[in-house]
Every structure is written in C-alpha cells, then in structure tokens.
Amino acid sequence: MAVTLPAERPRVDASSATLHAVAGKRARRARGLMAALFLAPTVLGITLFTLIPIVASIVLAFFQWDIISPPKFVGVDNFVAIGTDPTVRVAFLNTFGFVVVAVALQLAVALGLAVLVQSKMPGWLRGFFRSALFFPLILSAASVSLMMAFLFNQDFGLVNQVLSLVNLPAVPWLTSAGGATVVVVLVYVWQNFGFSFLLFVGGLASIPRDVYEASSIDGITGWSQFRHITLPLLSPTVLVASVMAIISALQIFDQPYVLTRGGPGDSTRTAVMVIFESAFQQLQFGKASAIGIVLTLIIMGVTALQFRLSRRFVFYQ
C-alpha cells in the first residue's frame, strides 16, 4: 500500500491534466448550453410577463383606450386626472393616510411583542407565542376579511356583542365612514403584524447577549436599556421592517374590497382599488395604467429612501 500510492499518484495527475485540456473545451460549451437552457424559462417568462408589461403600461398611460375603439393619444391627461378626478384623489389620500396609521400600528405592536417574546421565559412558551402570533400571516386576506366582516357585523357580530355586555351601543362598523376605516386598518394590521414581528424577533436574536450583560452591570435596565441599547442595535431591522411594511400597505386591496367595496361613499377606496375599477369596470385602461405607474414610482421612491436613510441614520455594528 505504502509503495503503490506514491507510484500511482503522478499517473493520475498526468492523465487528469490531459483530460482537463480535452474536456475543458467541451465542458465550456456544455456550460454555455446549460446557462442558456436553464435561464430560458425565467428570463423569457420575466420578459414576457413583467418587463414587456411595464413598458406597455408606460405607453398605455398616455392613451385613452377602452379595448373596443382604437387607442387615442391624450398626453399626460391620465396623470393629471389623478389629481383632478375626485374619486382617484380621495383614493390616493386614503391610501397615504392608511399607510401612516397602519404601518405605525403594525410596527409598534410587532416590536412590542417581539421584545416581550424574546425576554426571559421558558422555551416552550416562547415557541408557542412566536407561532401563534405569526399565524394570521399565512391565511388568505380574502377569507380573513369575510370572517372579520361577520365579526364586525352591526347586528350579530362578536364585537358589538362584547360592547353590549358593557352597556355600550352597537357601532355601525362597516356602514359608517369612520367605522369602516377603523375596521380596514385593524383587519390589515391583525393579519400583517406577524411579518414585522418575525423580522424583529430575528433582529433581536442577533443582538449579542454580552451587550445586555455589560449594560446591566452599569445599571442600565428596563426602558433606558431598550432606548439606548436595543433600539440602536435594532435600527437596521427597524428600517427594513418599516420599508417592507410601507410597500405592502401601499398596495392594500383585498381587505377593503371584501369588507366594504371601498364604501361607504369613497371612505375606504384605495389606490389599487381605483386601478381595478378604472380598468375592469370602467374600461379606462390608460387611466388605470397611469395610476399604476404613479404607485410604482412611489414604491421605488420609498425603496430609494431606504438606501439613503440607512447610510445616514442606521447604526451598523
């Protein structure tokens, strides 16, 4: 054994070197073929179903088109309509207001619960809370909204039943502008806080324990520990969670569509809802495209802001 090994080794090396030279060319050609074949479904698919539609959408935004008659060039009229058409304007204002309130609530709830769940407690209890709190995230927004529509029903919903137990009058949750807005925010936050919660739990878990031990020895505990130790170290996660929450909230559709169809009046109409209505109910495809592009630009703006802010404010270790 000890004699044959050194004798064999150089032979293997030599043959593999010549093999490499011959096989190298063939392997390179095979790799090129592989790249082309393997990328084809994804690249062609994304080109066909995302890239071309974006370009088409941009072009369409400058036309008036109802599918039936030929498209008519209208310049920036569709974009101007976003500001002047009262329904579209209200929908955008609703969406902005919704984003501010829902995202603030979602982040506050998620951060608070994440801090609690990561504090000292038995492992099985932590696991239970973590799973239970992220559960609504995996449900269908449409099914959840159906469920919540009954929960907030004025006559027999659970919420008003509970209110009547403490002698409070029944609230017309879904039939008043204020009530419907509150319900849409609550239902959305109920279902989506779990996502921010998961991010915060991950972020908190990655903060080294010795930082807390060191600060406790220095007498920094409780709120001041949260304010001066946890929050700065968590700032990258807070930024990512905020941006993702904003982007997702800007696109809200399922909840108000199922709960209220945008009503009463226009009180819960959102930007995506007017895209849907303009295109598929009023057959104003150009207008729908213009609204979609403005929404995309806002989303890209938020993403760009994330990069700028992360350079200025976020504390990286």
């Binding site: 369409l60 209890l125 709190l133 995996i138 995506v272 849907f276 995309t296």
Partner: protein, 290 residues
C-alpha cells in the same frame, strides 16, 4: 481577616441571591410579560376560533349559538361547487409551486455557479423586477392573456406565475451557500455540467426548494387579486374568489355557511403551519438580511 471577609461579601450578595430566586420562581415582571403576550395571542387566535365555533353551531336565523351540527358544511357544498373550487385552487397552487421550484432551481443554479458574460447584469434585472408591484403589470398581462386566447382559463393564472424573481434570488443564495469543491470533485469523476447539477447540487438544494415551494403554495392558495381579474366564469374561480362571491350572493342571511367555507379554506394553511413552519418563516424573512 476583616478585608478577606468583607471584600467578597459586598459584590456577591446582591447579584447571586436574587438571581437564584428568579430562576426558581418567575418574577412579577415575567408574569406581566406573559400575560400581555397571552392577551395578544388571544386576540390573534380568537377570531379564528370564533369562526370555527359559528361554523359548527349554526342557527337557522344566521349567526351561531345553536346546537353542534355540521349542517353549515353540507350547506356550503350545496350552495356552491366547493369540490370544483378546491380542485381549481389546488391545481393552480400546485402547478404554480412546482413550476416556480423548477424554474427557480435552474436559473438560481446558473446565476450562482455558471460564469458567463452579462451574468451580473441579467441577475440585476431579474432582481429589479421584484420591486414592480403586480398591479402595474396586470392590465398588459390581462391583454396578453386575451391575445394568447387564454382568458378565463386556469392557465391564465398559472402561466404568468411560473417565472419567479424572488424564487430565483432565493435559490441563487442557496446554491452559493453550497461548497464549490463539490463541482470540482464531480468534474474529476468525469461528470459534465448537467450531470453535476442533477446528481450533486439539485439533491442538496432540496431544503431551499422546499422554501420556494411552500411560499408559492401559501401565496397562490390565498391570492385574490389575480383570480378576480383573470377569471370570469364561476367554473374557473379559485376558493377565495368563490367564497367572496358566495357571501355576495347570500348576504348576511347564512353566516355559518360562509364561515364553514372560510374554515375549509384555512385547512391547507394549517397543514403548512404545522408541518412547514420553519421553511415558511425562513422564506418570509429571506431577502431582508444579507
């Protein structure tokens, strides 16, 4: 003597004694924290449990509170073609998930392991499309589907959902995490690039593929916006759309019936929750950290 006894006493007493007591009995602050979390959990699971309760205790006048009965479940099957809705949803969801796993594995592998000119730029473009919201492309996609003669078919939902920028990104990251030496070893053994992928890397990438598959399953089982636009006749509806339509038709007359449908629609999500929670959690938070 005096120094040796007093020096250890002052720093030791205050730290060790309460620490040991805290380990035995939960302190008041721990109990308060658990109570807050329990209330939050109650508010999170409560509505789902209430839904289940109404669905199994239907009352003729609507609402719940009657005796235990599964009549709402048989009612929902008679009011709407539940079998067809579930079949449509399962078909769309299954094919989207399998299709995404397949295309993402192939493209992710090439972006991770095969060098070619323009690879980075191409990957950048794929990545950038993740930022494009569905709603801005839906009008042209609708036109495209019409042009392809696929409007009001299940293929209209499946075909555009198969290429996945996010899945490709995830699989690329996954393949990058696997050791490159495996490819060298396979090459020495005489395996070509296709064989290396099929026999060495693809089997190792199964956990990553599971993440892509579970996320796709969860997303498409629950999705509402695209089916609402791309399907027209009820025979092509998916489950969420069918249930929303059912509620519109019944009004609030038979709450339990609709809620029974809602409960049934949650079953696959529950299965994913209990058996695929870890990959789901990993997938949901992937791409947010480097």
């Amino acid at each position: 003597m005096t120094t040796t006894t007093t020096v250890p006493r002052t720093p030791l007493r205050p730290t060790t004694v309460p620490a040991r007591r805290r380990r035995v009995l939960p302190g008041p602050s721990t109990i308060a924290r658990v109570v807050v979390l329990a209330v939050a959990t109650f508010l999170t699971l409560g509505p789902v449990l209430w839904t289940l309760w109404i669905a199994v205790t239907p009352k003729a006048a609507g609402g719940g509170g009657g005796g235990f009965s599964l009549s709402a479940f048989s009612e929902v099957f008679s009011k709407v073609d539940m079998v067809l809705l579930v079949w449509n949803s399962a078909l769309v969801t299954g094919l989207c998930a399998v299709g995404q796993m397949f295309t993402a594995a192939l493209a992710g592998y090439v972006f991770a392991r095969v060098e070619f000119r323009g690879s980075r730029a191409l990957f950048g473009i794929v990545l950038a499309t993740m930022m494009v919201p569905l709603q801005v492309t839906i009008v042209p996609v609708f036109m495209l589907i019409r042009g392809m003669g696929l409007s009001d078919t299940l293929l209209a939902l499946i075909l555009p959902a198969i290429p996945t920028a996010f899945g490709t990104f995830l699989m690329r990251q996954y393949f990058l995490g696997l050791p490159a030496e495996l490819a060298e070893a396979a090459a020495i053994d005489g395996a070509g690039p296709f064989r290396t992928f099929r026999s060495v890397y693809a089997p190792l990438a199964m956990p990553g593929l599971a993440i892509v598959g579970i996320l796709a399953f969860n997303f498409h089982w629950n999705e509402f916006f695209r089916p609402l636009i791309l399907t027209i006749s009820e025979q092509n509806f998916t489950l969420p759309l069918g249930l929303v339509t059912l509620q519109g038709n019944l009004g609030t007359g038979s709450v339990a019936t609709v809620l029974a449908g809602v409960v049934l629609s949650m079953i696959p999500a529950l299965v994913v929750f209990f058996f695929g929670q870890r990959p789901l959690r990993e997938g949901l938070t992937a791409g947010t950290s480097k």
